[in-house]
């Protein structure tokens, strides 16, 4: 028991959980609205898409890279899917859109993977390039007009709810969408992959020290390639869910989310240099960012301050984790 408590206190995630709790209590004191069922459900609702992206970004960060192309990838994959289905007058269930989007996501992810696995240039720069190519292709070649009428199957999926929470006083409703289950499923699958498969352990190894991992026998290039295919698939799923839930395809809606997602993952304790990190932390980090973004209104801070709050949060969060790292003496080399 004592050993477990000690381990808990050392974990980064525990302090993050405390921070979230403190913020939640503060908001509750200010507005009395935080711990209502409607607010919690709407937070869960808001977490689905960023949560999925965060899981994908987490896998990349653990392997020592940084992927900024996933919103553009998701947008392109889903835009192409929706365009194709609308133009052919598709009328069936949501499984086909998912299938097509997943295939396209895997393809685009493979593009990322081909470059990253082959060239020693930092992933950040490669994915900056592919991000522009994806969004440029979507906006230029595909025309990138808003598609207001998406196939009915997608709409139905997007509006399917697990349950509805209703606020007793104001009568406002909040839906817990069916897609929340998708988030849970993906998190569970990735958890299993990261902990119990060689591929997952390989990601941690590569992030820790790539040349050592190579010498230990991990097929580094093949692992990296598969990683980006998986990331592409998850991103496409997230994009499809966003489109379904919105009821229309807005091509630029997702663009620009990469910073928020990477911040969420890093706040959750994943080192940017790779090699460490846990899904619990990722989910907590996403929750924190979603709370900051959604609940500022409850405290009375106008939305115009959102960027400032996000930037400060990132700096403070990463600063604390950096100071912790220096203090614990885990820094072996001088880093620039």
């Amino acid at each position: 028991m004592a050993a477990m408590v000690r381990r808990l206190l050392k974990a980064n995630e525990f302090y993050l959980f405390l921070v979230i709790l403190v913020i939640a209590v503060l908001i509750q004191l200010r507005s009395g609205q935080f711990f209502t069922l409607t607010n919690l459900v709407s937070l869960a609702n808001a977490m689905v898409v960023p949560g999925l992206f965060a899981v994908a970004a987490f896998m990349v960060l653990v392997s020592g890279g940084i992927d900024v192309s996933f919103p553009a990838l998701a947008s392109l994959a889903v835009y192409a899917t929706t365009r194709l289905l609308v133009d052919t007058g598709y009328d069936g269930g949501v499984w086909l859109p998912f299938l097509i989007a997943i295939l396209l996501g895997a393809l685009l992810g493979a593009v990322n993977g081909a470059f990253v696995s082959r060239y020693a240039v930092p992933t950040l720069i490669i994915t900056l390039g592919t991000s522009s190519v994806f969004s440029g292709f979507m906006q230029g070649a595909l025309g990138s007009v808003q598609i207001p009428n998406i196939p009915q199957g997608m709409k139905d999926f997007g509006s399917a709810v697990l349950f509805v929470a209703q606020h007793p006083e104001t009568g406002l409703k909040a839906n817990l969408p069916l897609s929340f289950l998708v988030l849970v499923a993906v998190v569970a699958i990735v958890f299993f992959i990261m902990r119990y498969t060689t591929f997952g352990r390989g990601l941690y190894a590569i992030g820790g020290d790539e040349s050592v991992a190579a010498r230990a026998g991990f097929k580094v290039r093949w692992i990296k390639f598969r990683l980006y295919v998986v990331v592409g698939v998850i991103a496409a799923i997230a994009g499809l869910i966003r489109t379904s839930m919105m009821g229309q395809m807005h091509p630029t809606n997702l663009l620009g989310m990469e910073l928020m997602v990477i911040a969420a993952v890093v706040l959750g304790g994943t080192a940017i240099t790779g090699g460490t990190g846990s899904l619990t932390g990722v989910m907590l980090g996403t929750l924190l960012i979603v709370i900051v973004q959604n609940s500022m209104i409850l405290v009375g801070i106008p939305t115009i301050w959102q960027s400032v709050a996000l930037g400060t949060l990132i700096i403070i969060g990463t600063g604390i984790s950096a100071v912790q790292l220096t203090r614990s003496g885990k820094r072996t080399a001088v880093r620039v």
Partner: protein, 350 residues
């Protein structure tokens, strides 16, 4: 041993970098293509003048990013710093000068605006530098965070709108033409290049930057003050971003929190294209300058084809970046390191 380099040896120095050779070929091919396909535009002075007005905006930012990348870091906040400095400079001018100010009073306002912008850039750079060097947060995260923070401050200051109504003297001076021909932004850019050439080539600071970028551990054990060096580098990057903001303010005659959104990618593209090793330690200023010119010529060339929509531009920049990475063949970390060996061997020959 004579320390004076003959002009022959100096020429050999310039042409011994494969990146620069490649870019000179590309530039020559591009100019040739331009001259043949759009001869009318090629021969008109106006084309070149408008180019010389545009590229300093992202060119100055690229110079700042180049310095930070030489250290092995990066500065993604340059656009936000530029916008913030422009906004504060604009607000200063509007506050100090009535709309019909003339002569000496206007000059005072202009100087105040420039000073404000430079101070803002310096402070932003110092913040970046301290967070990277003292708190030891990875530069990517620091500059992404400060990008968001500075943009947020800019949004709050402007309420999300554009600031206009600047005194006309500002645009007259900073977007004007010296002798009626040479655009002032070009002069500012040339000045910036000369400053960096001096810093990198003739000062101890410059030499130490390359050393720190090559091997931080060895540099630390050699007694280099890495904290001071890093803070100074990010400070310089911030000030160059502020200069870019000054130019943007003049070109657009207004300031907004979200101008130049595509310049971040463009600056990184320029720096990588120019042969700067993203892991730090090598790369030449001349390469970056060539890259700026190439991208501006390419951009203007695209402008002359009105059928190619503007949306294709990020696609082309991204594609060029990927192409450069492929063409350079940096398939293994040793390839990137070879750039450094080339430099030290040159020093032995000279």
């Amino acid at each position: 041993m004579t320390t004076a380099t003959t002009s022959q040896a100096r020429l050999k120095l310039i042409f011994s970098d494969p990146h620069i050779n490649r870019m000179l070929v590309i530039l020559a091919a591009l100019l040739l293509f331009f001259a043949i396909v759009r001869t009318k535009n090629f021969l008109s002075v106006g084309t070149w003048q408008s180019m010389a007005v545009q590229f300093p905006e992202f060119g100055l930012m690229a110079l700042g990013v180049m310095l930070t990348m030489l250290l092995g870091g990066i500065d993604l906040s340059v656009v936000a710093v530029a916008n913030l400095s422009a906004i504060l400079a604009a607000q200063t001018m509007i506050m100090l000068l009535p709309a019909d100010a003339a002569g000496g009073q206007a000059a005072f306002g202009l100087i105040a605006a420039v000073l404000v912008a430079l101070v803002v850039g310096a402070l932003a750079g110092i913040l970046n530098g301290l967070l990277v060097a003292a708190v030891k947060i990875p530069p990517i995260l620091v500059t992404l965070g400060t990008f968001e923070l500075f943009t947020g401050i800019a949004i709050v200051l402007t309420d999300g709108k554009a600031i206009s109504g600047l005194p006309s003297q500002y645009a007259e001076v900073f977007a004007g033409r010296l002798f009626g021909v040479i655009p002032v932004p070009l002069l500012i850019f040339v000045l910036g290049v000369l400053v960096i050439a001096f810093l990198l080539g003739k000062t101890a600071y410059g030499a130490k930057i390359y050393l720190l970028g090559t091997n931080p551990t060895a540099a630390h054990f050699s007694g280099l003050h890495s904290l001071s060096l890093q803070v100074r580098t990010y400070l310089t990057s911030g000030m160059f971003a502020a200069l870019a903001g000054i130019v943007m303010l003049a070109n657009y005659n207004s300031a907004r929190a979200d101008y130049g959104a595509s310049y971040t990618l463009l600056a990184i593209l320029i720096v990588v294209l120019g042969g700067i090793n993203p892991n730090g330690g090598s790369g030449r200023l001349f390469g970056v300058v060539l890259a700026v010119v190439i991208l501006q010529v390419l951009s203007s060339l695209l402008n002359t084809f009105p059928d190619i929509s503007n949306f294709y531009r990020p696609l082309i920049w991204g594609g060029v970046l990927l192409l450069v990475i492929v063409a350079n063949g940096w398939t293994r970390p040793q390839h990137l390191r070879r750039l450094q060996l080339t430099r030290t061997r040159k020093e032995q020959d000279a």
